[in-house]
Assembly symmetry: C2
Homo-oligomer: 542 residues x 2
């Protein structure tokens, strides 16, 4: 089998590290048996239905003809199976057919989907964002119109933010919305990098589109969010939105990345005028956590493939897994995967438990730290394979190519680092970060206790530093925070009575090889902006 | 222009850091003007002829039909230009038409070739290996037959080591050599991963092939090296060697990676019977340094592309190069590139100057540290590009794909780390490494002085540790050694009178952000083997 859901690891991270059962009062219907059944069911779908399409989808890719995108072979049947299992609505509102389970459980399910087939996983992930945006910002009639069909997976959803001239700078967007007599708007403009913007797996696609109402303020204060269905609700007629191009990408070949043209398409305002960015952030935050989960997932898939290869490939008379450097690479991946998994799940548990400050703090860390891990583990997986890692047939190469998008989309990791510093750390003067530091400081594990001191030192620096110096160190600070928070969560798990010896071994290795990097990250955090802006750097002059 | 040879940086690394002019007595014909002319000429060829074929070659790839491999469009003309310039024989023996210049100068020329077009550069790189093997191990008649045509570039060369069942374990090879009445051998077997093993750019291809003479000892002691020309020397008839497959790879698409079938092909023994491995190491060592140079080269190419993008792309009203995190990524790449370049050049200067111990020590470091850098810088280059980095059209993705082979071929980086420890460090009980440590210890730069202490600490550990513990830490030790040696070489350069301010700024940044990682590398070096072999790691049980 090419991928098997690591259910033991997942449950350890979810229950022992991320403290899922702190949610018992809020989710009385969930118990251990149901959790086990859900994870096993999702794991079976991932392993049996989605994983076999990963390499074939990579080769077949998607195609565009006459405004229609055709998915790779087998994806239609796989999506039918996903829909039939009710997986899309796991955490959605039961009023509209959802199952009302914790987002943490839904996230764990998505981990197995992403690991088995990252291209496929993007489709339900985007739909999830649309569901959350409509649940939280939609008017009652909009909920009636869309939620049930999105939650069942009958229709899919998209996020339309990026425009050719405005990547990370959403405030610069120019797509315009012209009010119509019937209360709707005519949406005109072009959006790029729209994931699953057009496809043949669902009869309707619900686009959530950022646009500027004529006369609105410039910049991000003048942006509104619109619902633009591919087929109009009233009469089912085709709306004036179409896919005019597909990107030729390095990876996730089976996921269509569309250029979408809105040519006076009918759209309906969702939420208040000029408050579109807030609504979009609802989708973005969920998506960011999900992308972090993708990072863990692709790391896990790459790790499993490398492990299997190391256990069957001989060199010098021995299996290569007996070589210390091969073990080092595999164990590095595995230990960090478990930490990253705990971070993602803990972020979701915080969201489920209403601990907004914790959710907010962990979101950029989950997104960045875990996607850096995705790239690192995929690269380690290639290395374990040796020459076969560079050959596409081996399969390791695809993970390396696929993983590389995750540090970029849903806000580059650099932007996450700015968010962690500017919004999250400054936002509560380090209070929430201090909860982790305090927990680490009383750890009985010397390496964790020491790392806590380094994180406190770096946090104090970030809070006191001039903005330009803090920004220069923000990425290193995020890495340090992720390293330490990952360890705090793993330590919670291995402290528990009867904790598994394998999990303890992973934590020990993590403490010995990851936490010991803390002083280096502190140095990089404090390196300051002066180096970066030295006038001696002639090549940087613009 | 998509790539311009960074001649100022190259000359600084070559002259000020690697001390090229220590070779003045050995190479009296070389002076500053000639060096400048060579680098400018090579830079022009790279920028004008080779770089424009990089992306087109990636897309067109190579094809195999009826045993014949067709190179990508334009490669034939480019190879003609390379040949006409006399670039192949820069460091070769003047008796056979070479120019007798230092290998360090030839290596700098190859840097520009690799940077402009990594797929192309592999062809002359492999020919260079064949030239060196025949120069050092060939009989007089073999030199007469082959050297002139290889040195002129009329014929190309290959290295045939790897077999399907024997990757890094050369001793397991089974290709057999049967003595013939005329003193030749009939070579029978299959070799994989043979770079430029077949192509249409040269009328003859000289394969250097490892095989086992019938009755020879098992393992690496029974291996001999043979010359197997595609067309036989005596009558020009086609030899029984052919390409039976091309690998579908993640990158270097324009470089044919061939499966070669030897079906009783006529071969001639080069060097002594059963001493093939020693001869092959001549080629391997040259190739390892060249692959390290490739790492620097692809890093430079990726850096230049990212820098250009950052200087033209606006976000939030400003060019993205004004953002601190973007500058951090660019500067990280640039500073490490300059260190890696200095390491490669210093290794070549050591070879030219007859400092065998230094050449031997620096070879695995150049190979591993610089190829890790290639992957890192290519990944940073993708990140600077944002979404455009993941789109093939942007060009950054190709560097990321191409670079990934360099830590694998010519001995994986894990094998280099074992070599650094087992052969180089233990070989002289740390004496040669001690030369760098001693130089760093008296540095006036506090960060370098501190790092020297860490390298001494780690070196003492490696010399005293049990073998399994040392092997567990060997990769981290190599990284530490590379970090510090790179700094020692940069420090030599910036100490020189009138040293350029930009080079000083690069060194300062390197000291602040790279050297400060030394304690983490020491910790990883000393982490020991026990973690890796814990019986609790159930998943690792084979």
């Amino acid at each position: 089998m090419s991928y098997a859901a690591p259910i033991t690891d997942m449950r350890f991270a979810l229950e022992a590290c991320a403290n899922l059962w702190s949610l018992r009062d809020r989710y009385p219907d969930l118990d251990e048996d149901l959790l086990a059944a859900i994870l096993e069911g999702a794991g079976a779908l991932a392993a049996e239905t989605l994983a076999p399409l990963n390499r074939t989808g990579d080769k077949a890719r998607v195609s565009l003809a006459n405004d229609a995108v055709t998915a790779a072979p087998g994806f239609r049947e796989a999506y039918e199976a996903f829909k039939a299992g009710g997986w899309q609505g796991l955490a959605a509102d039961p009023v509209y057919g959802g199952q009302g389970l914790p987002r943490a459980v839904a996230l764990a399910v998505m981990e197995t989907v992403h690991a088995a087939n990252m291209s496929f996983g993007l489709l339900p992930m985007l739909t999830l964002g649309a569901i959350e945006a409509i649940e939280q910002h939609g008017a009652p009639d909009q909920k009636q119109l869309y939620l049930e069909k999105l939650i069942s997976g009958e229709w899919s959803g998209t996020m339309n933010l990026t425009e050719p001239q405005a990547g990370s700078d959403v405030g610069a967007l120019t797509t315009k919305a012209t009010p119509q007599a019937d209360g709707a708007y005519a949406i005109t403009g072009q959006k790029i990098f729209i994931t699953w913007g057009e496809h043949d797996l669902a009869p309707n696609i619900i686009h959530l589109v950022l646009a500027r109402i004529e006369g609105a303020p410039v910049g991000s204060k003048g942006i509104s969010l619109f619902i633009v269905p591919k087929f109009r609700d009233a009469d089912g007629s085709r709306n004036a939105v179409r896919c005019i191009g597909l990107e030729e990408k390095m990876g996730i070949h089976a996921s269509p990345t569309c250029t979408m043209a809105f040519e006076g398409a009918t759209g309906w305002l969702i939420g208040a005028e000029n408050k579109g960015l807030a609504a979009m952030f609802t989708m973005m935050n969920a998506a960011r956590l999900n992308v972090g989960m993708e990072g863990v997932a692709v790391a896990e898939a790459a790790y499993q493939k490398a492990l299997a290869y190391a256990k069957e490939r001989k060199q010098g008379g021995a299996l290569i897994i007996e070589h210390p450097d091969v073990r080092r690479m595999l164990l590095t991946a595995r230990a960090k995967i478990q930490a990253g998994r705990a971070i993602c799940y803990a972020c979701a548990v915080a969201a489920d438990g209403g601990d907004k400050a914790m959710e907010d703090l962990l979101t950029p860390i989950a997104k960045s730290w875990c996607t850096d891990l995705g790239v690192e583990a995929a690269s380690l997986g290639v290395q374990v394979h040796g020459g076969m890692g560079f050959v596409e047939e081996g399969g390791a190469a695809q993970f390396y190519r696929d993983a590389r998008i995750t540090p970029i989309y849903e806000g580059t990791n650099g932007i996450q680092a700015i968010d962690l510093y500017g919004r999250k750390l400054l936002g509560d003067r380090g209070h929430t970060m201090g909860r982790f530091i305090a927990e680490a400081e009383v750890s009985h594990v010397p390496a964790l206790k020491a790392a806590a001191g380094h994180l406190r030192d770096a946090t104090d620096y970030m809070l006191a530093a001039k903005r330009e110096d803090a920004l220069a160190g923000a990425s290193a600070y995020l890495t340090l925070a992720g390293d330490v928070i990952g360890a705090v969560l793993l330590a919670r798990g291995v402290r528990a009575e009867g904790a598994d010896e394998e999990q303890k071994a992973l934590f020990d290795f993590y403490a010995a090889t990851v936490l010991t990097r803390a002083p280096a990250h502190v140095a990089a955090t404090k390196a300051g902006a002066a180096h970066l802006y030295s006038s001696a750097l002639r090549g940087f002059a613009s």
